[in-house]
């Protein structure tokens, strides 16, 4: 779930841009031109995921895929996410340009956590690729849900219910996204294992 325009105070928005900028700068270090297509494809996938809606009354939620981006792109996801979010805000009106920094930071850190969780899980050799992908994606969604809840909570006491609702609305996303990411990771491992070999140099 993206944080929309209009709610967060300016200092938080500004901090979001600073953090996201720093993350993107770190994420883009030692970039080789040959990597651009791979990152672009997953950026596009992240963009398209937000078009897959399902209803959670009274609103509707959509898939996020930042866990998948983290699993596949590693720290490159920190570059992909702001670009994907900017395109979502520009072309679809999801999220917002003013909250771009905050959203990119939230998703970026969650993606990074998903990446490390995936590496750790597959490293043990006792977990199937499906389970590793599913758990990593679940962790990514859970972390971003907690972050969104925390940010809304911080806005003021009137937002407690909204914050709780935001957390609950993430549960179906968490379930669907874990399963879809798990199958996707399994598919990629069989068809293009090089994609999962490691995020970046």
């Amino acid at each position: 779930m993206h944080l929309s325009d209009g709610i967060l105070p300016v200092p938080v928005l500004a901090a979001g841009f600073v953090v996201a900028g720093a993350l993107a700068a770190w994420g883009a270090a030692a970039w080789r031109d040959e990597e651009t297509p791979r990152v672009a494809v997953f950026t596009a996938a992240f963009f398209a995921a937000s078009l897959l809606h399902f209803k959670v009354p009274p609103t509707s939620v959509h898939l996020l895929f930042h866990g998948l981006l983290g699993v596949v792109l590693g720290r490159r996801a920190l570059v992909a996410l702001p670009v994907g979010l900017a395109l979502q805000a520009a072309l679809l009106g999801h999220g917002g340009l003013s909250t771009l920094g905050v959203n990119a930071s939230v998703f970026g850190l969650a993606a990074l956590a998903a990446h490390h969780a995936f590496r750790a899980l597959t490293g043990t050799g006792r977990v199937t690729p499906f389970a590793a992908g599913a758990l990593a994606a679940a962790l990514g969604v859970a972390l971003s849900a907690v972050a969104v809840m925390g940010l809304l909570w911080s806005v003021g006491e009137g937002f407690r219910l909204v914050a709780q609702y935001a957390l609950i609305a993430h549960l179906p996303i968490l379930g669907v996204e874990a399963v879809v990411t798990g199958f996707t990771v399994e598919f990629l491992r069989r068809v293009r294992p090089a994609l999962l070999a490691g995020g970046c140099p």
Binding site: E186, F187, R190, V191, R192
Partner: protein, 268 residues
């Protein structure tokens, strides 16, 4: 011979409003082998997608194996009788192994496991893929092998009619020869759209010529393809393997009479 596909006064517009098919009428019976030819943009692919129940919102009538494609139920059932092989085989390969991919259709039909396995084996054999291919990744196969997996995936559903869209477009001559051989071994009603007219000559008896969404000729394959003025008028050319005598005869015979609608009353 009973009527398998009945299309009458079919009109279709692309979602953006441009006319794609205009007043199409033709019938197809069990056992016919039909080539669908015409220049780029003539509407060949659109017609095949429509017959496959994938495009709603057309006007006129289209029935396949008794299913009315104007109804949602009809469009959802038509895949039980009609197998559609897409132009780019890659578009059709959705699984991580050849076996899973070919089994996908039969599983969706709700068949029991033993029957699914039997069908997959038979389908793979019919397209000349042996057991070693079953566990391979479809995306790692050559264009010709991918095409064969795509055909097997459709054949395994045991359709009454097979629709192939430009099956030769990414094949080299060897792949094309193999495809002709495979189609010979599949004794099934078929519609094949193709720019490769020699391929159409090898695999079809009857030809429908489309141009700008309209049916401009419908007749025996050698007679249509040898009609030089007709072919040139619609951006095609007579295959060089047709003899001068055939060309002369076909051209003298003049324009082909289109089967007139209204003469076939509905058998229902």
């Amino acid at each position: 011979m009973s009527c398998l596909i009945e299309v009458e006064h079919l009109h279709y517009r692309y979602p953006e409003g441009r006319a794609a098919l205009g007043n199409l009428t033709f019938h197809l019976s069990h056992g016919e082998r039909v080539g669908l030819i015409g220049p780029n943009g003539a509407g060949k692919t659109t017609l095949l997608l429509l017959l496959g129940g994938l495009l709603p919102d057309f006007s006129g009538s289209a029935r396949v194996a008794g299913h009315d494609l104007q109804t949602r139920a009809g469009r959802q059932q038509v895949h039980r009788h009609l197998g559609l092989v897409f132009q780019h085989a890659e578009d059709q390969l959705l699984h991580a192994t050849v076996f899973e991919d070919v089994a996908f259709g039969p599983l969706n039909l709700g068949l029991p496991e033993t029957e699914v396995r039997r069908r997959v084996d038979a389908a793979l054999a019919s397209v000349g893929l042996d057991d070693t291919a079953r566990d391979r990744v479809p995306f790692h196969l050559s264009a010709g092998e991918q095409r064969r997996v795509a055909i097997a995936g459709v054949v395994a559903m045991a359709p009454q009619v097979l629709l192939l869209d430009e099956p030769t477009s990414d094949l080299d001559p060897r792949g094309r020869r193999e495809l002709v051989r495979i189609l010979e071994g599949l004794p099934i009603t078929r519609i094949i759209s193709s720019h490769n007219l020699e391929f159409v000559l090898d695999t079809c008896d009857r030809v429908l010529l489309l141009d700008e969404g309209r049916l401009v000729a419908d007749g025996p394959v050698r007679r249509v393809l040898a009609n030089e003025p007709l072919m040139l008028r619609h951006g095609l050319e007579v295959p060089s393997c047709l003899s001068a005598a055939e060309r002369h005869e076909a051209t003298l015979a003049g324009p082909l009479p289109l089967p007139v609608p209204h003469v076939h009353p509905h058998p229902h």
